[in-house]
């Protein structure tokens, strides 16, 4: 490995990188492929080598202004153009614009006779010509191993390949060479021996009849890189790789609160609903109303004029819309207005990671404010438990970074099972956790809801009963009677009983009030009687006094008369005497 000796002497400057523009790959490689060096992409047939190579080149030309040469040894230029057309890349147009040069190198063993010495200068000249014509910065050789079938003398070929990679480096082009996976080696013909700067391994694995493509950076000389296996998907917009560990816990949060669409539930969450950008887990047994809560959550978002994305893994879109209509949630109008997208797929369609990649793509494309996954437990049906948690963690983290509020429902198999076990270990990742359960009591079953946790806000510890009307879902306070929580009919009976009791009480009060009133009247009457008596007595006394005074006056007057008549002049004497 000639390159190996040179590297350490290079200055500690960061390696220049050529961004691939492929979602996720640049994050894993921390910036892209090594600029000006060859990179080897190897993998078994059909795992997406050509796709990766082509996208690297096309995105380079489109996004980074770096023209590229695609030298194909397997597909003709026409076939390649057609294949890329299906991903929405117009190779022919790029060719006309001199941004991409396609060169199909056909190697037909049967046409070639070998006599004497030769070298592959012809290939160099072709490649060099193509590079110089469009000023290419990127080169793809797909797959150079086809030469081994066409060129009889492998000793010459190996020497020439070594020279080719050296030459590509000298040219300063960022090259991507694909190679078929070998039995024990990374590539069948040991290309990794020559291309030692960066090796990316693609893999296509099937477990439980579900296939998942995975990508791993085996080696990246002079640069840090993610070493894990990352699932990737070839979607309708090319490749997307899921970086797991590159996601950090540094998303920004808001204080904004949004409504869940259920007034009673908002009331339980500090009266204002959950935070925007938080994640909510709704778990419960079958038939506890998870989907309905999910639907009203989406409905509420659409009512606010926000976009909502609903992943349904159990019901088809039309079934979901119909069922939600029956409880008065009209999602159809939002679908028509383009505010709501429903993606109904079978969980078995892809592996868990593929689902996740698909979600990423849809979320990035649709940019919803609210994402609903119903139910998330179905996704993990075909995956081993170990992979479920990191995958969901990635999804939740991703949604948080996008400031998207997520509501995930989760089916718990048995209500009697320990809660934490049945939650595929995601409950700790969630900001709010609502638990729905069925309470069977007194010959009937009622739905109850409780908030198990809700980070960053005071929340109700009450168990509440919720009901489906034909105008959506609402919560009712359960009846607390003594030390029992009453729901359903028991609640109604208790309510009636208490109502009856209160009526009696009412009557009693009124009766007592009336009695009081009557006593007051009696007292008043007594007072009046006493007053009358007193009046009578006073008038008696007054009469007596008056009559006594009269008698006294009469006797006094008589005395005067007697005196005056009896003595004659005594009166005059008296007056004379008094006048002297």
């Amino acid at each position: 490995m000639p390159a190996a000796k040179k590297k350490p002497s290079e200055p500690a400057l960061a390696l220049h990188k050529a961004a691939t523009g492929i979602i996720g790959l640049d994050e894993i490689t921390e910036g892209g492929l090594p600029r000006g060096r060859p990179t080897l992409v190897c993998g078994a047939a059909g795992c997406g080598k050509t796709m990766l190579a082509a996208e690297f080149l096309i995105r380079g030309a489109l996004q980074f202004g770096e023209p590229g040469v695609f030298m194909t040894f397997e597909e003709t230029a026409k076939e390649l153009s057609e294949n890329m057309q299906s991903l929405g890349f117009d190779l022919a147009k790029l060719q006309r614009q001199k941004k991409i040069s396609l060169d199909y190198v056909r190697v037909e063993r049967s046409e070639i006779e070998e006599t004497g010495e030769y070298d592959l200068e012809g290939l160099f000249i072709r490649l060099g010509h193509a590079i110089d014509t469009i000023g290419a910065k990127r080169v793809v050789l797909d797959t150079v191993e086809a030469l081994f079938a066409g060129v009889p003398n492998h000793a010459v070929l190996r020497a020439e390949l070594r020279r080719l990679f050296r030459w590509l480096k000298d040219k300063g082009v960022t090259a991507l060479i694909t190679g078929e996976r070998g039995e024990r080696t990374l590539t069948r013909y040991g290309l990794e021996e020559y291309v030692a700067d960066c090796v990316i391994l693609l893999d296509h694995r099937i477990s439980d009849q579900v296939s998942t493509r995975r990508l791993r950076v085996v080696k990246y000389r002079g640069s840090a890189h993610g070493t894990n296996e990352y699932p990737f998907l070839i979607g309708s917009h090319g490749l997307s790789v899921l970086p797991i560990t590159s996601l950090r816990l540094d998303h920004q949060v808001t204080k904004e609160r949004i409504s869940t669409g259920i007034a009673g539930l908002d009331a339980m969450l500090d009266g204002r609903g959950p935070y925007r950008g938080s994640s909510i887990l709704v778990s419960g047994a079958p038939g506890t109303g998870k989907s309905t809560i999910a639907a009203s959550f989406a409905d509420a978002a659409c009512k606010r004029g926000e976009r909502a994305l609903l992943f349904s893994y159990e019901e088809s879109q039309s079934q979901l819309l119909r069922n939600m209509r029956s409880v008065g949630i009209d999602l159809m109008r939002w679908v028509r207005e383009g505010l709501l997208q429903v993606h109904a797929t079978r969980p078995t369609l892809h592996g868990l990671e593929q689902h996740l990649v698909q979600m990423y793509e849809l979320v990035r494309e649709f940019r919803p404010a609210v994402v609903v996954v119903d139910p998330i437990s179905n996704l993990s049906m075909h995956a081993d438990d170990a992979s479920v948690k990191p995958t969901l963690m990635r999804l939740i983290d991703f949604l948080k970074m996008e400031n998207t509020t997520a509501l995930l429902t989760s089916l718990t198999t048995e209500t009697s099972m320990p809660l934490a076990d049945s939650e595929v270990g995601v409950s700790s990742l969630m900001d709010s956790w609502l638990l729905l359960s069925n309470v069977a009591f007194n010959g009937e079953r009622t739905r109850t809801l409780q908030v198990l946790k809700s980070r960053g806000m005071p929340h109700s510890n009450r168990v509440r009963e919720f009901v489906f009307g034909n105008r959506g879902v609402d919560l009712i306070d359960v009846y607390l009677s003594g030390d029992r929580v009453l729901t359903g009919t028991a609640r109604l009976a208790q309510a009636a009983q208490e109502e009856a009791a209160s009526e009696l009480l009412d009557q009693d009060h009124q009766r007592r009030l009336r009695a009081l009133e009557r006593r007051r009247e009696a007292v008043d009457a007594q007072i009046a009687a006493l007053n009358a008596q007193e009046d009578e007595r006073r008038s008696d006394v007054e009469f007596a006094i008056a009559s006594e005074r009269f008698v006294a006056e009469r006797s006094a007057a008589r005395n005067k008369t007697i005196l005056a008549a009896g003595a004659g002049l005594p009166n005059l004497d008296k007056t004379k005497r008094s006048g002297v």
Partner: protein, 111 residues
Amino acid sequence: MRSLSNLESVKRVTTRAKPEWQLKLYVAGKTARSVAALENLKNLCETHLAGRYSIEIVDLLVNPQLAAGDQILAVPTLVRKFPEPIRKIIGDLSNQERVLVGLDVQPVRRE
């Protein structure tokens, strides 16, 4: 290239009316190998195809765009354009037997 002027004469001499054998020799500059290949080819043609052949020399260093047309990878490459089908012989043509087989030429026996 210098090699070309040298080779033009060959072409002129051998091109008559409609040659039965049309050969194209792709080289990359005047290297020892390409000179050897041309020498070997001339000898062979004069011996076995005298008067019935034409040789066109393509120097890829001068005309790199021509490499794609005949799917040239190795140099030197001799291409039998006519009679069809196209045959390719790579190398310096030092092994005359194999060149004759590769071109499918009936060797002329010298008495």
